[in-house]
Amino acid sequence: MEFEELKKIWDAQNNQPLYVINEKAMYNHILSRKKQAHHITNISELLIIFVNIVSGIFVLGMNFFKQSGNLSLYILSAWMFGSALFMLVNRIRRIKGNNQFDRSMSDDLSYAVSLATYQVRISQIMRWNILPIGVFTLLGLWEGGKPIWIAIIVLLFFALTYYAGGWEHTIYKRKKRELEILQKKLDNES
């Protein structure tokens, strides 16, 4: 069979709709998606910014009002504010790129790869970020003369967070690799 005949079979479906649209459900879906933060990146970014700012304020406030003069805790709160600011700047850059619809498939894949690279980088940074935060927290506990069992619980908490961060990082890395393969397929002249 020649390609023209395949095309005739294909064209015939234009007069026979394959599906029926439930319009009420469709508009409900559009409305619900407009209201919710639909992207996982969006949620994790906002969460990281919020957690870092609140924790930074809490640590700073506690240290300041107790007048303990604990330097590690001042450094820790500054580190948290810095992390929140870093995330905020990257978030603004990402959102600017999200509202473009006139991209070609190649450009769109490049954007998806750059977004995935950003997610990989952020998840890696946030994972490594746990280490200085953990160290400063433990130093703060030690300077404050807290019992050892509190330090052990805090250490366990940071270890778990570090492990979970690694799992998230692997997911983003896999997604990035898959997108790069697609991009390569598109660009390859074969």
């Binding site: 069979m1 020649e2 390609f3 005949e5 395949l6 095309k7 079979i9 294909w10 064209d11 015939a12 479906q13 234009n14 026979q16 709709p17 394959l18 599906y19 029926v20 649209i21 439930n22 459900a25 469709m26 409900n28 879906h29 559009i30 998606r33 639909h38 509202n99 473009q100 619809f101 006139d102 991209r103 070609s104 498939m105 190649s106 450009d107 769109d108 894949l109 998806a112 997911i171 997604k175 898959e178 997108l179 697609l182 397929k185 598109l186 660009d187 002249e189 074969s190």
Partner: protein, 169 residues
């Protein structure tokens, strides 16, 4: 742009070009649940794209671009639906038409589905009569690259159709 205007444009686009979206949905998603999921993704992207549409491209090309880009990325989504999942309690946007589908068309969709995501896009554009220039613009690759890929895909489809005489192809 007011929401009322946006809705009006959306309705016009959908009534005139829904066949285009249906084809992409069927070529990229296998189960009914997945087809519904992909369709929802495409209509959301289409809805959001309306205020940025500047009429530099035709609506047909614009919708193809959005739908294909969405479908390609959708295939890499973590969660997919499976046929065994319950269909109860879920409000579906898309329902399969009760019309009898041509067996040859069913076969063609099966063959398109077997291609990788990039070749699927090219096949859909080719079957819908886009020129090499338009395809190169939608895909963001050179016309010569489009030509090379089309030759390979055409040969593949023709050779498979010859092996499937029982479909009347």
């Amino acid at each position: 742009m007011t929401e009322k205007e946006q809705k009006q444009i959306f309705e016009d686009w959908l009534s005139q070009h829904k066949a285009l979206i249906f084809k992409i949905v069927r070529a990229y998603a296998f189960t009914v649940m997945d087809q519904d999921d992909l369709f929802q993704e495409i209509i959301i992207q289409t809805w959001h794209s309306i205020p940025t549409f500047r009429r530099e491209a035709s609506v047909n090309t614009w919708l193809y671009r959005i739908s294909l880009n969405t479908a390609i990325k959708w295939t890499k989504k973590e969660r997919k639906h499976y046929q065994s999942e319950t269909l109860e309690g879920v409000q579906h946007v898309l329902q399969e038409s009760r019309m009898q589908t041509d067996e040859r068309l069913r076969w063609l969709y099966e063959e398109i589905y077997k291609l990788d995501e990039i070749d699927r896009s090219i096949t859909l554009l080719l079957l819908d009569g886009f020129s090499y220039k338009e395809m190169a613009s939608i895909l963001g690759i050179t016309e010569s690259n489009v030509g090379v890929k089309i030759n390979r895909i055409k040969k593949q489809l023709i050779s498979k159709s010859k092996k499937n005489d029982h479909y009347g192809i």
